[in-house]
Symmetry: none
Subunit: 275 residues, 2 copies
Amino acid sequence: MREPDDDHALMRSSAVRIPAPVRHQRIMDVFNADGFVSVTDVARDIGVSPMTIRRDLAILGRDGLLTRTYGGAVAAQDSDRTGHGDGPLFDQRMAENAVAKKAIAKAASALIQSRESVGLDVGTTLLALAAEIAGRPDLRFFTNNVRAALELAGAGSPVYVLGGEVRTPEFSVVGTSAVAQLKALYLNRVFIGVSGIIDLGIFDFSPEDAEVKRSFIDVADCVVVLCDASKFQRRAVARIATLDAIDILVTDQPPRPPLAAALATANVRVIVADR
Amino acid sequence: MREPDDDHALMRSSAVRIPAPVRHQRIMDVFNADGFVSVTDVARDIGVSPMTIRRDLAILGRDGLLTRTYGGAVAAQDSDRTGHGDGPLFDQRMAENAVAKKAIAKAASALIQSRESVGLDVGTTLLALAAEIAGRPDLRFFTNNVRAALELAGAGSPVYVLGGEVRTPEFSVVGTSAVAQLKALYLNRVFIGVSGIIDLGIFDFSPEDAEVKRSFIDVADCVVVLCDASKFQRRAVARIATLDAIDILVTDQPPRPPLAAALATANVRVIVADR
DNA sequence: CTTCTACCGCACAATATTTATCAATCGAGA
DNA sequence: TCTCGATTGATAAATATTGTGCGGTAGAAG
């Protein structure tokens, strides 16, 4: 196709081809803003053929990120339908890097062996992990994440929630009570979400959440940190722990030299999830 | 030569095909707000033909979410018919007597004074209450209801969730840990949901839930039972307590003589919520 | 009891979307 | 630079959804 004048929206013949992950993310953006996606709309918007969008939606649907409908797609049906959303803020964070989070969650879930006691911390990436492992029948979940508890309960394995004050926007349980309950446990594996990671350690925005994370780390045999690449070289108010405390880091892009070196020194096994 | 794009952009709000699931959700929204749906109203509202709405209502009716009537649909009758295997059971229960539950929740919320410590138990009626009082800033909530915690958290008052195993379908927290945490509390007021009430006392389907309810009752100054009329003269496997334990009963219809007499003897204040 | 109006649902037509298939194009690696 | 594999776009047949016409029926008013 030559350079058409009528196609003023995008010069698609000369523009670089948009890679599939970027396209997927943009679809998720539209989907999150409007509640549903129309194949023809998003095709025109991105500047690709409807056929390509259909293939994209098939992939995203297979990954459980949305549910296909005639003419488009809507929110994934799998989780609880409370009707009221969980606030545009949370949904937005959930949509950010949705593809990366999903990939990380998939890679992380592969780490879990049979009959393990699994601790689940707070965060959007952790929530993606919860959706991923919700079907497993042979595990035992402990979490301070109210949303994850809702996702996991009744899906197979027993779920135990820590008691304490519930804080937004993460719907995390914090406080001495939660910490005390953790101290009475031993967990095979615990998954931790972080706000930032640098050579000095892992960080979180909330000191209260950080305290619970530390307790998780204390009682776990294997500490797995989930962290997409946007968190690299970022720090926050509360330091959770040094890198030594981490056994495995699951992320979506290889860390750059300064951080990579520190991770190697701390003997952290780094898993880069394939998209 | 006419530009087809601008036409499309202008017509977007009305010309876009709305996926069936979204339409169904909007129908259920109207239904939950008003208690009934009118075919012509909702057809005009959504911008599709009445025939399409009829087909939608047929589907929703087949799923047990509502019952078709002449000109629209109303709440599904009470559930002797659990009927459809994979149907959304919780949502269905929530839709049942939606109007009654809302009225009960409203009347119950009026009981709460300033600065009270409030306990919230499990059940669909309790969830309606949670939605009702979510804005109040001067209270302190304690609950074993994971869904209610999600509803209340971040809406003003601090929320504390009990720790323990999370059980479906109520997403209730049960177990010795939850009971122990309750024993360390004193609550001004506690709201209890029940599965049935007869002159011998209040009942629940789950012995584990009943145990937590008993603990709630033990530590509360004022025990309020929420209970729509469909629970009258019904009993279940676990007896929570005798009627003596109740201070206030909030319901939507006056109890009949046998129960009414027992309530009077037990010194229970009965509040009948106005629809 | 009758009549009238609005609603129901079936059948069919029109339109939009999907799927299957194949050709064209792009990018990576030799 | 060339080839191979993968991704994308285009076409046609199949399918799904929606709208409309029409006979029949429920509910309301006289």
